[in-house]
Symmetry: C2
Subunit: 151 residues, 2 copies
């Protein structure tokens, strides 16, 4: 009973967390999940852009933190594009995500590689390398949005 | 001029990404950032809860993936609670976050440690360890929400 009690306790805790998720469909939760991840990606990308552009003083630690987080986040949204998540909440996702899944995966993989390279460049603190890696990463975002996101 | 061209190109790319962020205030973007991260945390927590409860068959790799992502995400929301982000978009954040910053940080650190321990337990595949670590992690979420989030 001890193990079972733990499950019940954990479940009660979870229910009490009021993530607002329990009245939602699985598709709605997945759509909001992937949008949350991409919103967070955009925030870190914006923080880095401000430093690349000089709108905000470059700080190696702050920039590198954003680059590392972006690299981690770039692995995450794909879980939210599972079968049956084409609709269920407001979304700009094109049907091509599911009809051309190989291309979508390929572009996602490219984005992941570019963000990992940006995190490496950020750790070096070399602004020339950073600029190249930042531009390459932003380009993978744009490519995938152009191909798989409605305006 | 080569370096400068790269900056301009990267900036143009970024502007064209239409994250919808550029007409927003810095506070609004920070609030939506932290909410996006916590939405994503909730999604992975829910995926793990379903497996702990038996609503979904336990799959070691799937569970471990969610635990690792949650552990990474648990490091991220704090950046979105900077000065001046008390208001600016709909938020349930209590003022105590800024007036009792030490307690907020302490509870955030506890959540980070608990999620890291859950990721370790998940890698072991030992369900007894997983249940304990999952319950402990869910408890840190609840504690911080009880203290710092309005109903």
């Amino acid at each position: 009973m001890h193990g079972k009690f733990k499950i019940i306790a954990a479940t009660a805790l979870l229910a009490s967390l009021s993530f607002g998720a329990y009245a939602q469909s699985a598709a709605e939760r997945s759509i909001q999940y992937r949008q949350g991840i991409m919103k967070a990606q955009g925030w870190h990308l914006g923080n880095m852009a401000a430093q690349v552009k000089g709108d905000k003083p470059y700080n190696k630690d702050d920039f590198s933190r954003s680059a590392t987080f972006l690299s981690q986040l770039m692995q995450m949204p794909w879980d939210g594009f599972g079968p049956g998540t084409e609709t269920g909440a407001p979304t700009k996702a094109k049907a091509d995500i599911w009809t051309d899944a190989a291309k979508f995966k390929s572009e996602g993989d490219e984005a992941g590689k570019a963000a990992a390279a940006l995190a490496q460049a950020a750790a070096s603190g070399n602004m020339d390398q950073i600029k190249v890696a930042f531009g390459a990463t932003a380009k993978t975002c744009k490519t995938c949005h152009d191909d798989f996101r409605t305006k």
